[in-house]
């Protein structure tokens, strides 16, 4: 029986294992030094905030692994011998594989700041980081977070839940400026500012972290010379593939493990998926490294096909993502670039009181809908996926917006205001269609 070994039990590795099991009887082993059982990385924050216990963020009960004959090894892989197809482990004896999947994830970026290894300075990515953060934030009052992105917001929310004041250093002029258009970014900033104890410092960069006598962070200095006292520094300036232990071997590694469209590497029977994979040529409009929950899952689904004999390239559909900035939910479908493309124009509708912002992007000439950033509402993924597939126009999307609304029953709706605003701004005459059962719309052609 062939033996598939997966290094890493995050969403990518575990999805691969599940789908290989669906398709085959191969022996499957997952090796992880982080935790015995799979957990939802994106939910670590809720454990710190006391919403859930650690066992609650583990999606499968322990009998799941036995029932699906997926063996779990809790150990660290030190090196890989690609010729003899053997893994050297830290504690247990070597493991031989027939096919190997690298799903080793990422690690928080550290850009060589002075004092970045002091006590009280850390990123947030792994279970270990969560435990460290618990330890590092005991009884403290002030913290600094470096990097204005999603992990930074999560850390800020976590710290605030424990009554710890947070200064948030953001290098750009606006919040998450490399991903959000300015108006969206300002909208999020507005919401963040509503939270007491959180201070956003734009165009500020970390210069160095200064230690007290015990070797623990006591303050930081910014590049502009500002000093901020703090007992904790959260490093949230992005993550990069966790591939140090793979470097200096025959495996081709750049930022991440270099992969072909079918997720294979330059080594026979070795694949890389999830955060740690770097595509030699980008797929569609996507970056070479994708570090998102959903892409990890889709790569896992894809590699499982190849390994079980149905060779397949990674072919994700339209981009989608979601996040939550404190109390404001964010969903995005299609592409809304921070800087609009040449042929693109956008329609923005905002309700400050209810904290809702919709940012539609469409083609100037053909009016084809390109993407939406959605804050404070919920929208149906299925319909937007269909509209993107069928190149629906912005008018079509707006017309059926009522049906695309995914907010709970009885919630106030804003579709009429939105369509009126669009008609006014673009001198158009879109007529809002009454709400329909959404599945009916799925069967209609655009």
């Amino acid at each position: 029986m062939e033996h598939v070994v997966i290094i890493g039990n995050g969403i990518a590795g575990v999805t691969a294992a599940r789908h290989i099991r669906k398709e085959s009887d191969k022996k499957i082993t997952i090796i992880s030094s982080e935790s015995k059982y799979f957990f939802s990385r994106t939910a670590l924050m809720y454990v710190y905030m006391g919403h859930m216990r650690f066992q609650d963020i583990q999606p499968y009960e322990s009998h799941f692994w036995k029932n699906n004959r997926i063996d779990l090894i809790e150990d660290l892989v030190e090196s890989i011998d690609y010729q003899s197809k053997t893994l050297k482990l830290k504690q247990s004896s070597g493991v031989k594989y027939d096919q190997l999947i690298l799903a080793v994830g990422s690690k928080p970026n550290r850009f060589g700041w002075k004092g970045q290894d002091l006590k009280g300075v850390q990123g947030l990515y792994s279970k270990n980081d969560l435990e460290l953060m618990e330890e590092n934030t005991k009884g403290i009052k002030e913290a600094v977070i470096v990097g204005g992105g999603l992990i930074g917001v999560e850390m800020a929310e976590m710290l605030l839940s424990r009554d710890i004041n947070v200064s948030f250093l953001i290098r750009e002029k606006t919040f998450w400026g490399n991903a959000l258009p300015e108006v969206d970014s300002n909208f999020v900033t507005q919401h963040l500012n509503r939270h007491h104890g959180l201070k956003l410092l734009f165009e500020e960069e970390l210069d160095e972290i200064i230690a007290d006598e015990s070797g623990r962070a006591k303050e930081i200095k910014t590049k502009k010379g500002k000093t901020i006292p703090c007992q904790f520094v959260g490093l949230a300036a992005g993550v990069s593939p966790n591939v140090d232990f793979l470097k200096e071997s025959e495996l081709e590694v750049d930022k991440g493990v270099l992969v072909n469209p079918d997720l294979s590497t330059n080594q026979k029977d070795v694949y890389a998926i999830g955060d740690c994979a770097q595509f030699k040529t980008s797929i569609n409009d996507r970056g070479p490294v994708e570090q998102v929950w959903y892409t990890g899952r889709m790569m896992g689904e894809t590699v499982a096909q190849t390994i079980t004999g149905n060779k397949m390239n990674y072919a994700p559909s339209h981009w989608f993502n979601s996040a939550k900035f404190f109390d404001v939910e964010y969903q995005t479908y299609g592409r809304v670039w921070a800087e609009p493309k040449e042929n693109e124009t956008s329609f923005v509708w905002k309700n400050n009181e209810r904290e809702i912002l919709l940012h539609f992007v469409f083609d100037k000439n053909s009016k084809v809908f390109k993407g939406i950033n959605n804050f404070g509402l919920r929208l149906r993924h299925d319909l937007f996926e269909k509209w993107l597939n069928e190149q629906a126009t912005i008018q079509h999307v707006l017309k059926y917006l009522k049906t695309a609304n995914f907010d709970p029953e009885f919630f106030k709706t804003f579709e009429k205001d939105i369509v009126d605003a669009f008609n006014k701004e673009f001198n158009d005459s879109v007529e809002l269609a009454p709400k329909k059962w959404w599945r009916k719309l799925m069967h209609d052609k655009v």
């Binding site: 006391g50 216990r53 066992q55 424990r162 009554d163 989608f320 996040a323 109390d327």
Partner: protein, 535 residues
């Protein structure tokens, strides 16, 4: 699930109370003290109206002020910070103390009413705790209080004011606001005031329970017993008595299946029912304590449906015995043979419905519909044997014994002590999930013939587990959501909290066409090219 980490508290908000929280706690504690004092010592405090006002005020204003203190100044949104660090909500010392006091309260209520001073004075006057409630009872029904009046009043206060707390906590959700107003109205007006006022108007056809128009059979398990029927058709109780009887039959036979078909069991369980009402309001802080394991689901299915079958069997047996009496009051309207025909007819109808649901249903669990049909057939045959043998008891057991057993084990121990007393230990829906026969009945309709489902929003789930954790019915919502699958479960009471706590906007309670409601092999949107997902 193997790993347990004990996260201690650093700079935790729950340890530092603000002024409003302190005032709220003080008011609540004073009320609790007065009540415990009269309960434990049996002391009769005078003037009773003053102490009653103090108790009711403290129990009303206390929790509301505490809630305002907890959530004020925070933007509207989900506030579950520290739930697992708080001793009350994490099965800590406070949780245990709360559970023990609540349990003792129920034990006294059911079996040691004397402890509350229930009619222990001269000429049956009230003393102690119950005596405090005399003034209110006099106003509402022109008679002194009893232990059930005390219980009903506390129950209603809990739903009303912890309901206000719930609304403040979930003020960002109009669904919860409307639902909670209905729950509060239903308890205050339909379950509490209406029965007592009618009682005051001399409609004493069997006490509190039978005058509550939303307490439907089979939850109201003695709805069809002889004494109740006789009381309802007694000439002095007209027209109310017959009206209640007709309404009760319409409620379980027509309203329940129809409304459940259109909106799911939630209309009853989390909008109108008193048990559900208490769970949703007073029990909200304990919703995450429900057991999510597969094992618990298995136990749930056997238990809740066994209780349901038991109530149905009991009701049939009781009615059978009723018709076999030489004189029964309904005789004025029809002879015994019509009564027997009705019983056989209803059982036959149930069997036919089970068979229909089996052929109409989807998924593995439709096999249980065959089990239901077989049980119905066995009941028909054994009742037929009793009938042909001229036996006055159906199924060869005394219907009175069955009823007493049910009242003790299910009515008191299960629904009261375990159901509410154990809120802080087992969660707020133990009775609703494992015991309630009405929930069993509603659940079968919801699972097999309803337009209700929780829709999963394409591929947006991140498996975080908030939905499963905060599901009071112990449904592993995430297991469905992460597969892109709709949630169609008999147990779901449609409280909507999974949708509220979802950080990525993945879940929505919806009523829609039955077509594609159950999605066994969903496509995870965003990756349709993947073959295993398209099969």
């Amino acid at each position: 699930m193997g790993t347990t980490i004990n996260y201690s508290i650093a700079g935790d908000k729950t340890q530092n109370l603000n002024t409003l929280q302190k005032i709220g706690l003080t008011l609540g504690s004073i009320s609790l003290f007065i009540f415990l004092l009269t309960w434990v010592t049996g002391m009769t405090l005078t003037p009773n109206w003053l102490y009653l006002t103090a108790i009711l005020f403290g129990f009303s204003a206390g929790p509301v002020l505490y809630a305002i203190g907890t959530y004020k100044g925070l933007p509207a949104g989900i506030k579950n910070n520290g739930v697992y660090f708080n001793s009350l909500t994490n099965r800590g010392a406070l949780g245990w103390i709360g559970a023990i006091i609540l349990t003792l309260f129920y034990v006294c209520l059911y079996w040691y009413g004397d402890w509350f001073g229930n009619g222990t004075g001269t000429d049956g006057a009230n003393e102690g705790a119950v005596a405090l409630f005399d003034p209110l009872s006099q106003i509402m029904r022109g008679a002194p209080a009893d232990k059930w009046f005390l219980y009903g009043t506390f129950y209603t206060i809990a739903i009303l004011f912890l309901g206000i707390k719930f609304m403040y906590k979930y003020r960002n959700s109009k669904y919860h606001l409307i639902r909670t107003v209905v729950v509060m109205f239903s308890q205050l007006v339909l379950a509490y005031m209406l029965p007592y006022i009618l009682e005051g108007l001399n409609a004493t056809s069997g006490g509190y329970y039978s005058l509550n128009p939303i307490n439907s059979w089979p939850l109201n398990y003695d709805f069809m017993t002889g004494t109740r029927i006789d009381a309802r058709i007694a000439p002095e109780n007209q027209p109310l008595g017959v009206a209640y009887m007709v309404w009760g039959i319409i409620l379980f036979l027509i309203v329940t299946p129809f409304v459940t078909y259109f909106v799911g069991k939630r209309w009853y369980c989390s909008w109108f029912c008193g048990c559900g009402g208490l769970a949703e309001t007073a029990g909200d802080n304990f919703r995450h304590l429900s057991d999510k394991s597969l094992k618990a689901w298995k136990i749930e299915r056997w238990l809740v449906h066994s209780v349901m079958v038991f109530v149905m069997l009991m009701t049939v047996a009781v009615m059978y015995s009723y018709f076999s009496k030489s004189e029964f009051s309904l005789m004025m309207y029809f002879p015994a043979v019509v009564g027997y025909s009705l019983l056989f007819g209803l059982l036959g109808l149930a069997v036919l419905l089970f068979i229909f649901l089996y052929f109409n249903g989807k998924g593995k669990s439709r096999n249980f519909m065959l089990v239901g049909a077989v049980i119905g057939m066995v009941m028909i045959v054994s009742m037929l044997l009793s009938y042909l043998g001229n036996d006055s008891q159906a199924f060869g057991i005394s219907s009175d014994t069955i009823k007493k057993g049910y009242g003790f084990f299910i009515g008191a121990i299960f629904s009261g002590i375990v159901g509410v007393g154990f809120y802080p230990l087992l969660g707020n829906r133990v009775w609703c999930r494992f015991g309630c026969p009405m929930a069993g009945y509603l659940g079968i309709i919801q699972r097999f013939k309803s337009r209700f489902r929780i829709t999963t929003n394409g591929g947006q789930c991140i498996s975080c587990g908030n939905c499963s954790t905060y599901c009071e019915q112990g449904i592993d919502v995430r297991a469905y959501a992460q597969k892109g699958q709709n949630i169609v479960r008999a147990a779901c009471v449609g409280c909507g909290v999974c949708s509220s706590v979802c950080p990525r906007g993945v879940l929505k309670l919806e009523n829609g066409p039955e077509e594609e409601r159950i999605t066994d092999n969903p496509i995870i949107i965003g990756h349709e090219k993947h073959p295993t997902l398209r099969r």
